[in-house]
Amino acid sequence: MQRDSKVYSIVFATVICLVCGVLLAAVNEATKDDYKTNLRVEKKSNILAAVKYPLAGKTGAEIEKIYDEVIAATVINSKGEEVEGDAFSIALKAEKKKPVEERSLPLFVYANETGEKFYILPMRGNGLWGPIWGYISLKQDLNTIYGVVFDHETETPGLGAEITKPWFQEQFEGKSSLNGEKVDIVVLKGKGNQLNEHSVDGISGATITGNGVNSMLAEDLNAYQNYFKKLN
């Protein structure tokens, strides 16, 4: 067959695609389990990091063990009732497409050595380029913020991606998430603002990511308030 003929080109392209496709599928199968383990460990470390559990230098297996020992989980709905389900495996991405009333809301509870309880709420929203998510932990009064963790998929390094940095996350610690009955915790625009107990400084040049964090906080904290009223 001629190397320049159309038929040859098509046959050649097909063969190359088949070979590459089969190769990739095989490697994907082989590495799938390890990847899933990594994702699971990452989620558990994030939940533990929201209550500032020290994890530096811990291996994946150790993190999973600690998680199983110290974290309890329930699933609730926005009316404040406990519902069936496995909190850890709930995919927020899918839940957030449903109306609030139909969502299953995972709630993680951490108790420290002195028996003090911390409530960890997962959150998910949109930044500038793609999804952002995180965990926020509240003290036993269900109002004071104990710690937050944020992460993102494609925010700009140095701008929106700063939400993952300690300086940004540490600002939330000790702030009040409620103003009366209403959720009120906001990231302001840029730095150097007059702050009160419901606001933190934003990231200069990343206002849209900051707004994304705001609506994520407001929406996801709100959904738990009925349950929290029953607890109090």
Binding site: R3, F12, L23
Partner: protein, 222 residues
């Protein structure tokens, strides 16, 4: 681009590590460095060099992809139809890149997270396509393999030098460990924020190009 220089065909009956073959490995390290002389692959050199660890992994990944795709293209060079050769090259490079991505995700997850989009962007690294077109399409697999490794290492060398400069000056650390001692800070040393942002890499690469060209007496000619 000046990549055509190295693309003379190599004769068949040579020993594996002949002088000529070794030059394929050593030339890109200095005289024909892909970043500083050929000026390819600059974008990733700016993007991933704020710290040494991701720079090192990126360099490894690019070296692997360049060498492996050079070999495959060289093996297929007499079969690839000329009219679809760029697409075939892309398919093979993309396959290699996804392989690297899958392996990173499974075995060094934190690094894969740090590199995030840059792994996918290996495919757009001009060094790879440049070497495929300029070298692998016209040379035997072994020579192409050496050429790929050589260019990968040349890229790696610059990436790591830049990353070392940036991490020490920008964060005072090396591979995450504090290397600038406290008394330096007491004496007035401050972490340079310019080195943390990509613009800092531009200065670092510029200085390297300057030093290297001054040493090699290399001058741009009209």
């Amino acid at each position: 681009m000046s990549t055509e220089v190295a693309s003379k065909p190599i004769k068949t009956s040579e020993p594996l590590f002949s002088k000529k073959n070794m030059r394929l490995l050593s030339d890109p390290l200095n005289e024909n460095n892909p970043i500083t002389v050929q000026v390819l692959g600059i974008c990733s050199a700016l993007a991933v060099t704020a710290q040494v660890k991701p720079a090192f992994i990126m360099a490894l990944a690019v070296t692997f992809v360049t060498a492996a795709s050079n070999v495959f293209i060289s093996l297929l060079r007499n079969l690839i139809p000329g009219n679809i050769r760029i697409i075939v090259q892309l398919t093979i490079v993309a396959t290699m890149v996804i392989l690297v991505d899958l392996v990173l995700k499974a075995y060094v997850y934190d690094v894969s997270k740090q590199l995030s989009v840059f792994v996918g962007l290996i495919i757009t690294n001009c060094i790879i396509m440049g070497r495929l077109e300029a070298f692998a399409m016209g040379n035997k697999p072994w020579a192409s393999f050496l050429d790929g490794i050589g260019n990968g290492l040349g890229y790696a060398a610059i990436l790591i030098i830049v990353a070392i400069m940036r991490e020490i000056l920008g964060s005072g650390t090396l591979l995450g460990y504090q290397v600038v001692p406290q008394f330096m800070y007491d004496a007035g040393f401050a972490n340079n924020n310019l080195m943390v942002v990509p613009a800092g890499a531009l200065f670092a690469v510029g200085i390297i190009i300057w030093v290297q060209r001054a040493q090699n007496k290399y001058y741009e000619t009209e």
